[in-house]
């Protein structure tokens, strides 16, 4: 995918200089109770947070002007993430220090569990999030499966030449081979306390998997992966760890936190 999104421009700006509008890419984490908000909810939360922080976001023209935000791949309701992204189109070119200070301005106006990690200015013509991301790494907890049973399932899936999965798409059931979408899959180790519906004879323990799943041409979701490995497995906590993009043939995180990354201020909400 090399297509480049047309750079956002001023539309109907009535005398405003024509040309691309500046964009800022924000990386944030989503953990704890707030993981039960939907993708749409998160979009609304961001609209309000940016207004509360006084960030001068560009608006769409027309009868219902909306702030110009664009989100990457939707995170399913209930999943957590260390690496979520949104692009914010600004009215005016920000200074480097404005961009750098964005996380600190946004932290107090976001709900507990949504933590801004970094903001970067995007170069003109940069790919949109949807285009840029090629795969995601996930941590997936599976309840009541021992690490050795999990390893056997993982080995079977990786050895398979084809892994058929039926999914709903536009109201129709489509069966396709999801094996090519599994870039990497491994067992991380045992989990002592999984957050899964309690049922009789559940052990309360489980196994954590790590999977890198392709997002193009169609994203393979963690729940779909597990269903393809073994439909009987019950998925507990799911966390997106990375969103990868390709740069010069090498895989890298969309916005790297670097070695100096600080732990999120709301880390304690996990325990709540």
């Amino acid at each position: 995918m090399t297509a480049v999104e047309p750079a956002p421009t001023r539309r109907g700006g009535g005398g405003a200089p024509h040309g691309p509008l500046p964009r800022v890419r924000i990386r944030f984490a989503k953990h704890g109770k707030v993981r039960f908000t939907s993708h749409r909810d998160v979009a609304r939360i961001w609209e309000r947070a940016l207004r509360r922080a006084g960030v001068e976001v560009a608006y769409t023209e027309g009868f219902s002007p909306r702030p110009r935000l664009s989100f990457g791949l939707a995170l399913s309701t209930g999943h957590e993430s260390d690496a979520e992204y949104l692009d914010v189109i600004l009215r005016d070119e920000p200074t480097p220090s404005t961009v750098e200070q964005l996380p600190a301005r946004l932290a107090p106006v976001l709900p507990a569990g949504i933590d801004v990690q970094r903001a970067v200015a995007l170069p003109t013509g940069a790919e949109s999030l949807q285009q840029a991301v090629t795969s995601c790494t996930w941590h997936i907890e599976v309840a009541d499966v021992t690490p050795s049973d999990a390893a056997a399932g993982v080995a079977r899936a990786l050895a398979a030449t084809e892994l058929a999965l039926s999914r709903e798409r536009k109201g129709q059931t489509v069966t396709d081979d999801v094996r090519p979408a599994i870039v990497d899959l491994r067992v991380l180790g045992p989990v002592t306390e999984v957050v899964a519906p309690l049922a009789p004879r559940r052990s309360g323990a489980g196994t954590e998997l790590e999977a890198e799943l392709a997002t193009q041409p169609r994203a393979l979701r963690p729940l779909e992966l597990v269903a393809a490995i073994d439909p009987a497995w019950v998925v507990a906590r799911v966390t997106r760890i990375h969103q990868w993009t390709l740069a010069g043939g090498a895989r890298r995180e969309v916005v790297d936190l670097g070695p100096a990354a600080t732990p999120p201020p709301h880390a304690e909400v996990r325990a709540s």
């Binding site: 109770k33 707030v34 039960f36 908000t37 939907s38 749409r40 909810d41 609304r44 939360i45 609209e47 309000r48 947070a49 940016l50 207004r51 509360r52 608006y59 009868f63 219902s64 002007p65 309701t77 209930g78 106006v109 709900p111 507990a112 569990g113 957050v195 899964a196 519906p197 309690l198 507990a236 709540s272």
Partner: protein, 655 residues
């Protein structure tokens, strides 16, 4: 203080819209409970989306949490999928703030805004792990309280409620807190529940149903009388004299997920003296108490800054009547802080061109739809209900709307009003048809939606004596309208289920004998009755039959002047003889002007409590016959609205 979060969390991924159960709203509090602190669980007996925006609960949430001796949290009715999980896993009703179980609170306080939520109230009490019947509760159980408009006849819920608050809650919650605090300090010993309830019955505005006894003469109610000499014979409502002293909510809750009325709401005045005879809200909230305009502006500016909302609603029962509405809204629109991105909405528009002018000023961008409530189809009918809108007002408003870019107009009507004839009913479509014709002069894509609801008489209104139309009669009127609407281009008709109106009417004017009926409907699964897909008329009729009670007697029968009404021992300040006179005037088709701008007719709401209207301007608002001072008998305006009217079609000629 315990939390059910760890029990709840694993199940949330499997239920619809789990964000309803997590709390974390901007403005949410995590108050510390403890010794000497009275904990309140403020509960809305419907879903989170409906209940969260409720301003009454939000106001009390803040007032209680500002006190050192009180802590308030919030709960909402869980949707059926989560309820099944909660019952199977023995998870009690919980607060969304700290996920504390309902039975740990000292007071479970419900907002009652709609009769069809009564079975949900029982369900919430039961889910909280508290006996549903007040008589079965022990000292360790919370007190179950209710406030809100439905509490002006709480008798159908008398078996289930420990205490009921009439009127404004701002002051009385603190007085209740003080009594409950002493009860806690005394150790809530065996037998003390009766004592604390008796003490609470002395608090002005608090009604304790168990301190009263209902006696009957056959089917007729003889009286509801106090069981003790120190319990008041009549409970008067509470009224705050000055809204300016209560600038709440200061920190309106901003939910993480979508809810109804998802915007900043600022109450600009409380009470209404338009005197619409069907309108319970307008009768029980008198007098009019305006918030000072500068306080409104401050609350709007602070609220927008704090919440990040881009929409603010100025709320009241008729916001265009607010003194100086124009400069107030202009100031909001012009505030540079809002960058032209903030829209202002007036949820209850008056029907006249002046009001549309204000709306045009407010909705510069999003001109999608406007809603008006003429309520009835003919001038005769509107005189009877005292909604004194002349056709010219409506057409002026609609002409103004269409000429300024709106394309959709929604009109609200009631059917089944006192002395309504088929000609009156069909007048609804005449109005709608004329609105379409007016619209066509401006635009092709005209849509006029007429929404028709079955009229349900409410306590403390002049129509409280009126026998409600039967469900069959309402159904006949609706189908008559529907047939005619099919032949009318540009008019879309929507209507409420007449069967639901029947049950609303049953609960609205029922007495204590309905308690077992409500309990049986709840026990057999009849919750969320205001949701049409869950409404179960069969359960209600079966329960009535099982208890030997009659719909005809409770709902369809006209009451006489001498009849003892189930709410006669309660008072909204209105004199019963004023209401009766207004009922007689209604039948004589005589209108009554608004007493904000004309002399007092002594309804009792001001004189009885030694309070008065707080209105910044003594001048009636401009535009339309809904201002006062004009000749109501002829329906003539001082200045004519510039619209040409088509000759009215002869009603019924086509049938």
């Amino acid at each position: 203080m315990s939390s059910v979060w760890t029990q709840l969390e694993p199940h949330l991924a499997g239920v619809e819209k789990p964000a309803r159960y997590i709390g974390l709203e901007l403005g949410a509090q995590r108050p510390a409970a403890g010794q000497g602190v009275v904990s309140w669980l403020l509960t809305y007996p419907d879903t989170y989306e409906i209940g969260l925006p409720n301003q009454g609960l939000q106001i009390l949430y803040e007032i209680l949490n500002e006190r050192d001796d009180a802590a308030a949290e919030r709960a909402y009715a869980p949707w059926g999928d989560l309820e099944s999980v909660m019952r199977a896993q023995r998870i009690p009703l919980f607060s969304v703030d700290t996920h504390r179980p309902g039975h740990e609170f000292d007071v479970l306080a419900f907002n009652l805004s709609a009769e069809l939520t009564y079975t949900n109230l029982l369900n919430c009490v039961d889910l909280a792990g508290v006996p549903v019947r007040a008589a079965d509760r022990r000292p360790e159980h919370p007190l179950v309280a209710a406030g809100g408009h439905c509490t002006y006849n709480p008798e159908p819920l008398a078996d289930f409620l420990d205490l009921v608050v009439l009127g404004d809650g701002e002051e009385v919650v603190s007085e209740i807190t003080a009594v409950v605090r002493d009860w806690k300090a005394s150790g809530r010993t065996e037998g003390s529940r009766e004592a604390v309830l008796r003490e609470l019955s002395h608090v002005e505005g608090v009604y304790v149903p168990s301190m009263y006894e209902a006696s009957y003469d056959g089917a007729a109610l003889r009286a509801v009388t106090p069981r003790y000499a120190d319990v008041p014979e009549r409970v008067e409502k509470r009224t705050i004299a000055d809204l300016a002293e209560w600038p709440y909510p200061r920190n309106q809750l901003v939910p993480l997920t979508e809810v109804v009325h998802d915007r900043l709401n600022v109450e600009v005045f409380r009470g209404c003296t338009r005197g619409c005879r069907f309108c319970q809200a307008g009768m029980i909230t008198r007098p009019v108490r305006e918030r000072p305009a500068d306080q409104v502006r401050t609350m709007v500016a602070d609220g927008l800054r704090r919440t990040g909302y881009d929409e603010v609603a100025l709320t009241s029962l008729s916001t265009a009547d607010f003194s100086g509405i124009e400069p107030t809204v202009q100031a909001i629109v012009d505030d540079p802080v809002n960058c032209g991105q903030t829209s202002v909405s007036l949820p209850s528009l008056r029907v006249d061109a002046f009001t549309v002018g204000i709306a045009a000023q407010l909705q510069k961008a999003r001109r999608t739809g406007l809603t008006f409530a003429p309520e009835a189809g003919t001038w005769r009918m509107r005189q009877i209900i005292n909604k004194l809108i002349r056709e010219e007002d409506l057409y002026g408003a609609v002409d103004s709307a269409f000429s300024q870019g709106w394309r959709r107009v929604k009109l609200y009507f009631l059917t089944g009003l006192p002395s309504e004839t088929d000609a009156d009913t069909m007048g609804i479509l005449d109005l709608a048809r004329n609105c379409v014709d007016i619209g066509r002069q401006h635009t092709k894509g005209v849509s006029v939606k007429a929404s028709v609801g079955g009229f349900v008489p409410k306590p403390f209104t002049p129509f409280q004596w009126f026998g409600q139309n039967t469900a069959d009669e309402l159904g006949r009127k609706v189908s008559m309208l529907r047939d005619e609407a099919r032949r009318t281009k540009g008019v879309q008709l929507t209507w409420h289920d007449p069967k639901a109106s029947l049950i609303e009417g049953l609960a609205s004017r029922g007495d204590r004998r309905l308690g077992p009926v409500i309990e049986q409907v709840w026990r057999r699964g009849g919750t969320f009755q205001e949701w049409s897909e869950h409404f179960r008329l069969d359960l209600w009729l079966e329960a009535l039959a099982d208890h030997g009670l009659d719909v005809e007697w409770y709902v369809y029968r006209h009451r006489t002047e001498a009849e003892v009404l189930p709410w006669d021992h309660l008072s909204a300040g209105l004199h019963k003889d004023f209401l009766w006179q207004d009922w007689q005037d209604a039948l004589a088709e005589v209108g009554l002007p608004d007493c904000r701008w004309t002399p007092c007719y002594d309804c009792g709401a001001c004189t009885g409590y030694g309070i008065e209207h707080v209105v910044a301007s003594a001048t009636p608002p401009a535009g339309g016959s809904q201002g006062t001072g004009q000749d109501l008998s002829t329906g003539h305006l001082p200045g004519a609205v510039p619209v040409t009217l088509r000759p009215r079609p002869v009603v019924g000629a086509s049938r």
